[in-house]
Symmetry: C2
Subunit: 228 residues, 2 copies
DNA sequence: TGTACATCAGTGAACGCGCGTTCACTGATGTAC
DNA sequence: TGTACATCAGTGAACGCGCGTTCACTGATGTAC
């Protein structure tokens, strides 16, 4: 095995082990020494691969965003009838939900509490943007198709229009303010739902998470005017 | 000063200091020794007041839930015209938002990632239920007043009805499934919005958090049929 | 094809630090008679 | 009002443990001629 191959393999071994540890102790208590022990090397050797604990954490964050992003993009792309926006939206929502359920600690790492003392570098931005980006692509299609929203939306004033100014540059289409607002609400609903569910706030209230989630997703699709 | 007064005062001093530390290092890294040092006593003395680190954490969690709960209840009660449900709903939402902005770390403690290795005891349940409870009281009023929902809701099937079975016991009124679904969605929207905002996911996207939040709240009130 | 040198992975010891929890203790505050 | 005893707060030392990071080093892998 070449040096380069070895390097790649060891880097991955460290990252995988780190990820396992993350699930057990959380990001704040993630320990380089414990990871090194588990991989079977001495703690100082890890520094040949990651210059510091924070760099390792960044790698884990990027990995999580990318894994989720890939799952979501694949779910969208997997829908044959590209014009069936309700189906695409549902596929995306369920992909986020499924991934979060399968990887609760990775989800908590990127969508839960920020890690104290850690500032995510700009490297993470592109990966973090994949899910919102996928949603916006569907939103654009609904705008192009001139679909009417399923839920009426209050008139959007100039201030609210300005408030949403940071999102417009990410859009390829001139989108109505009312539609954009509804998509923002769908986005917060989606992640709010998943966070409240995963972090235990629905416990004993909602008795069947999957059924309820599926219902909410179809409702959101209706509100966005995607069904029909 | 009596022994009992002293005890209360020291307990509070420890808890306040713990809370300050929480804001700096997060729940996972909260250190009894550091807190003791800051209060001006030896670390073992803390054990006269809290039997373990986890008990202290529980106290902080209950405190946070109660503070938020009290703020939310006060906001609701503060609305004179009890029949103005839109105003009550908005007051409640803004109370959550304001409190979260003022106490981001306490918010993260209760609505962010679960603390690894910590299991919240049942003691926290009553305090945690205050915000959802306040929302449900408003929901009940809207049911009693037979307000029509502002956003149409897809027919709720038997399975979804069953899935929401855990919430019905907390209701004093027989509530329509469509309304209950909308209130669940409002709840997830509210906390999803706040979490995404506070945890940095709206950064550079939404340019004016307060304006956007206010707009969303009025929209939610519309959807719930509270305005009018 | 072989040799000389450079690069790199991994070692092991060390630095300086912090942690939660236990325990025997001192001295002050409270209580019962 | 005074004395004897019980309760309690806080001390300081100790146990056993873990952490991130640095550094001089050995030995293996790669490269240039």
């Amino acid at each position: 095995m070449s040096r380069a191959e070895n390097r790649l393999e060891t880097t991955q071994a460290i990252q995988e082990t780190a990820r396992r540890h993350l699930a057990e102790v959380g990001p704040a208590a993630l320990s380089l020494r414990a990871i090194a022990r588990d991989v079977g090397m001495v703690s100082s050797a890890v520094y040949r691969y990651f210059p510091s604990r924070d760099h390792l954490l960044t790698a884990l964050i990027v990995e999580a965003y990318d894994e989720l992003g890939a799952a979501v993009e694949a779910a969208d792309t997997g829908v044959r009838r590209r014009g069936d926006l309700a189906k695409r939206f549902a596929a995306v929502c369920h992909a986020v939900h499924d991934w979060a359920r399968a990887h609760p600690h990775e989800y908590a790492l990127i969508y839960g509490s920020p890690v104290p003392g850690y500032a995510a570098p700009d490297t993470t931005i592109a990966s973090a943007a994949r899910v919102p980006g996928t949603l916006l692509r569907i939103a654009e299609e609904s705008e192009r198709a001139e679909r009417a929203l399923g839920a009426p939306t209050r008139a959007v004033g100039a201030r609210e229009r300005t408030a949403l100014g940071g999102i417009r540059p990410a859009l390829d289409v001139e989108m109505g303010d009312d539609r954009l607002v509804r998509w923002m609400m769908a986005w917060t609903s989606l992640f709010g739902h998943i966070s409240l569910e995963l972090f235990g706030h629905m416990y004993r209230g909602v008795l069947d998470y999957d059924t309820h989630f599926a219902h909410v997703v179809t409702q959101l699709a209706d509100d966005l005017g995607l069904s029909g």
